[in-house]
Amino acid sequence: MIHTPPVDWFALSTILALLGASGIGLLGAVLVPRRARRPFSAVVSGLGFTGGIVAAVWLYVDSPNGHTVVSGAFYRDRWTALAQVTICAVGLATTFLSVEHLPGWRREADRERRDDHVAEFFAVLLACAAGMAFFVGAANLMTLFLSLEWFSIALYVLCAIDYDLEGSLEAGLKYLIVGSFGSAGLLFGSALVYGATGSIGFQEIATQVGRQGLDRNLLLVLGLALIIAGLGFKSSAAPFHMWTPDVYEGAPTPVTAFMSAATKVAALLLAMRLMLIAFPQEANLWTWAFAGIAVASLAIGNLAALVQRNVKRLLAYSSISQAGFMLIGLSAGTALGARALMYYMVPYAATAFGSFAIVAARERELGEPVTLDNLAGFGWERPFLGVAMWMFMLGFAGLPASGVFVGKIYVLVAAYDHGWAWLVIVGVVATLVSLYYYLGIVRAMYMRPSEELPVTPGSVVVTGGSPPRERLLHVAVGAALAVSVGSLFAVQPLIDLARHAASSLF
């Protein structure tokens, strides 16, 4: 007879809200008439993510003492809750962005087919976020792998969903193949760790390692390495980043925005928890490993971004280098590092999302991929989006225009506090290099007159006249800007949240 564990449904309420909305969205794809499908599914998606945020906030308030639920499969604590809030907020913003931009906005002329797959898109988006919300709370290697696959499969579909878009299918396929490689690594690593310790729960692994004195066991170390590599794939950290620029470029831009913000949050926050709880005895191994990955990401991300002309690719490399910064916080492996990582997530997610959203707006206007050349004049034509992009880029570059500035200081302090002055220098030099391409975007937007722009007129959509009115996109960008800039000023409240969240890891 199968033994059924007691289930704390409330601990799973975020995931359930998202999954429920996803189910309703899928039903809508069949039952709701085509005309009403887009508004219907967008509203369902918006409500689902709002419900997710409410549930996660509630969980945060109600779970001061973290513990595992469902017989040790899932964490109910503030780390999980805060990560879920971030993921759901990104999802909500993606919903706003997607209403006008996905899928099938290229088929606007063909109203019949335009809304073919819109409901499925939102349903998959919700399911994907649900997977991430589950992933960040995973408490054993089984749920970890399960939820990783869950949201990854959803992401593969999302990348490939806009079949009219050149490169979308390719992006989906590439992500599927390379992503599976990462998943396989993670699975194999989990198996090795299980083989060494005989347990899959994070807590039990640490206990077993301590009890049996396995901290230099070859199987265990190999397993750990493979797990780190698997998580590296998901957080697109170098040297596991090869898929990132291609997939980010090929995927529909709203999906890119969602991926770059939410996936990274999920993967890095989970990595921090997994390392601290399951492998505390191996801390001197994984701190060095993550420091190495951080340095590689900073180097490769920044240097490769220097030569990009395509803005999506450029931002993809920039996200690799930002991952490098966040990994500095992770590699410190201290409470301060955890706090720094958690804080960094908030402005990073907002900034990354916002910048891709602006690229989406320009892309729609032009009907072709956005490059540094055809950004010319954009800042003057669309003042709000221009200013927002300006703030995002300067923020990423480490100027005090957004919370990323404070985040960088935090991770550098964490690194120095850990005794790694050299990592501080690496971070500083990386920031310096990154200036060139971040300022390059500002330069392209403001300092070149648009007359120089060799426009091939919008191939499908916009022909002449003013750019499309994208109220919802403006709302999404405005929210991202508010969070990004606001987090520069409201550091203390965010840090308090992060401290409470991080306290459940120690």
Partner: protein, 484 residues
């Protein structure tokens, strides 16, 4: 220590106004008027504050403090000392004149332009009043945000290269300073400048100094200067050399010297040598420069060297003179660049071989340029003379040869400034100077005359600044006690 919001108002009023200007769809005229009004209001606030300032008291005044990120002990902590009061005053006055200039020449895209100028005002005031290292760093970097756009959008044909060079140079310095700040802050357990302990680390000192010598700039870190000063719109150049450059020198005075007393004296000779090299080399370049702006730009390099000479002489006279000279030179170079702008508008060029004979029929231009030029070459009785004299006296107390080098610089200053005056005003009429080129208009006079007026007032009473910068007029002990 009573809390006061006056200082915060000086920072956030212009930044708030900038955001307002960006959001309100006002006309060109209304935008410019609003910006000018706000910058005059800023001057008014400063005068009110200066009137209430207690110069006899050491320690921070008009301070304000609130936690920013508490677990790293980082505070929003602002306040003023005597010398920072004067630098804030310099900032508000010069910025007001430059905003007025932008209004007068009718810059394109007025909302963006005036918003950025006001934002720059707030950020620069922030640099001079911040009493927390990370806050200081934030403002120090924030100055770069508007400057980058101001030069890159409204600058001359070579603006893209100029901005890139400018940003890369200054960020190299300031990011290393960031590393130094992080290390210092973690070691000291606080980022506060007032409570912070001294440090004997030479590496940290060098990290800070690199940022400051690039910003000032001093030889050989001035590579960005000719491009940035040459390609910016004239009023932005005026801000750059009049105010922004002073931020670097201020950093030496407020942070590098008091917080790192041992390294500062260890590297004293090296820095004095750099300062002297800047003074002489800058003066020579100014003498060789083929155009109006080039002369003023390289003379700024020379003056930065002179001021650094005063600061690192480590004597009472040197400190007093340095503060006076910062203000005097700020006003001089702002006036000169605004006049350069006026000349360029009339003749389309600043090149000496195309200029000449502008004095004839243009008495206001001639009088003003002559007055500022004469003050700038430190004619006895002028504010700049007082400043340079104090600096040289201070340098002499350190060792006589520094004073000799400094005096050489002053002779060279007379040479390049007289060359400038004669090349623009006198000699044969230049090919680009037409009879239709008007004298300075009332609008321009209203901007330059007040600056010159302040300079003349300071010439009459230089002790207003040199005697009111450090409590008890004993700078070395105040600096040694880290402005406690």
């Amino acid at each position: 220590m009573a809390m006061s919001t006056v200082t915060s108002v000086l920072i956030w009023l212009p930044i708030g106004a900038a955001i307002l200007i960006w959001m309100l769809p006002l006309s060109r005229y209304a935008t410019g008027s609003l910006a000018l009004l706000v910058s005059l209001l800023e001057v008014g606030f400063w005068i009110e504050q200066a009137a209430r300032f207690d110069f006899s008291q050491s320690g921070l005044q008009f301070s304000d403090r609130a936690p920013w990120f508490g677990d790293l002990h980082v505070f929003y902590h602002v306040g003023e000392y005597g010398f920072s009061l004067w630098l804030v005053g310099l900032t508000t006055v010069v910025m007001a004149a430059c905003v007025g200039y932008g209004f007068w020449v009718g810059r394109d895209r007025p909302r963006a332009y005036f918003g950025l100028m006001l934002f720059l005002t707030g950020a620069t005031v922030g640099v001079f009043v911040a009493q927390d290292l990370l806050l200081f760093y934030a403002f120090f970097e924030a100055m770069l945000i508007p400057l980058y756009i101001l030069i890159g959008v409204w600058g001359g044909p070579g603006r893209l290269g100029a901005t890139l060079k400018f940003v890369i140079y200054t960020m190299t310095g300031s990011l290393l300073m960031l590393a130094a700040i992080v290390v210092y802050g973690v070691q000291a357990g606080t980022f506060d400048l007032v409570d912070g302990p001294t440090s004997a680390s030479r590496w940290l000192f060098l990290g800070f100094m690199l940022a400051f010598v690039i910003k000032s700039p001093l030889f050989p870190f001035h590579g960005w200067l000719p491009d940035a000063y040459g390609e910016s719109p004239p009023e932005v150049t005026a801000v750059l050399s009049g105010v922004i450059a002073k931020a670097g020198l201020y950093g030496m005075l407020r942070i590098a010297i008091p917080t790192f007393p041992e390294p500062a004296s260890y590297y004293r000779t090296a820095i004095l040598a750099l300062a002297s090299a800047s003074l002489v080399y800058g003066s020579l370049l100014a003498f060789r420069s083929p155009g109006f702006r080039g002369v003023v730009a390289y003379s700024s390099l020379a003056q930065s060297g002179l001021i650094a000479l005063g600061l690192f002489s480590g004597t009472n006279l040197g400190f007093d003179g340095a503060v006076l000279q910062m203000v005097a030179h700020g006003l001089v170079s702002a006036s000169l660049f605004l006049i350069a702008g006026a000349v360029e508008r009339r003749t389309t060029t600043g090149e000496f071989r195309l200029l000449g004979g502008m004095a004839r029929g243009r008495p206001a231009l001639a009088t003003l340029l002559m007055t500022v030029g004469v003050i700038s070459l430190a004619v006895p009785g002028s504010a700049a003379f007082a400043g340079e004299f104090l600096i040289l006296a201070g340098a002499y107390q350190r060792a006589w040869w520094w004073a000799v080098i400094g005096a050489t610089g002053i002779v060279l200053a007379a040479m390049y400034m007289l060359r400038l005056i004669s090349a623009v005003l006198h000699e044969a009429r230049g090919s680009t100077v037409s009879d239709e080129a008007l004298d300075l208009r009332p609008g321009e006079l209203a901007l330059v005359v007040p600056l010159v007026g302040v300079l003349l007032a300071l010439s009459v009473w230089p002790a207003a600044i040199s005697g009111h910068s450090f409590a008890g007029d004993n700078p070395t002990s105040v600096v040694q006690e880290q402005f406690k």
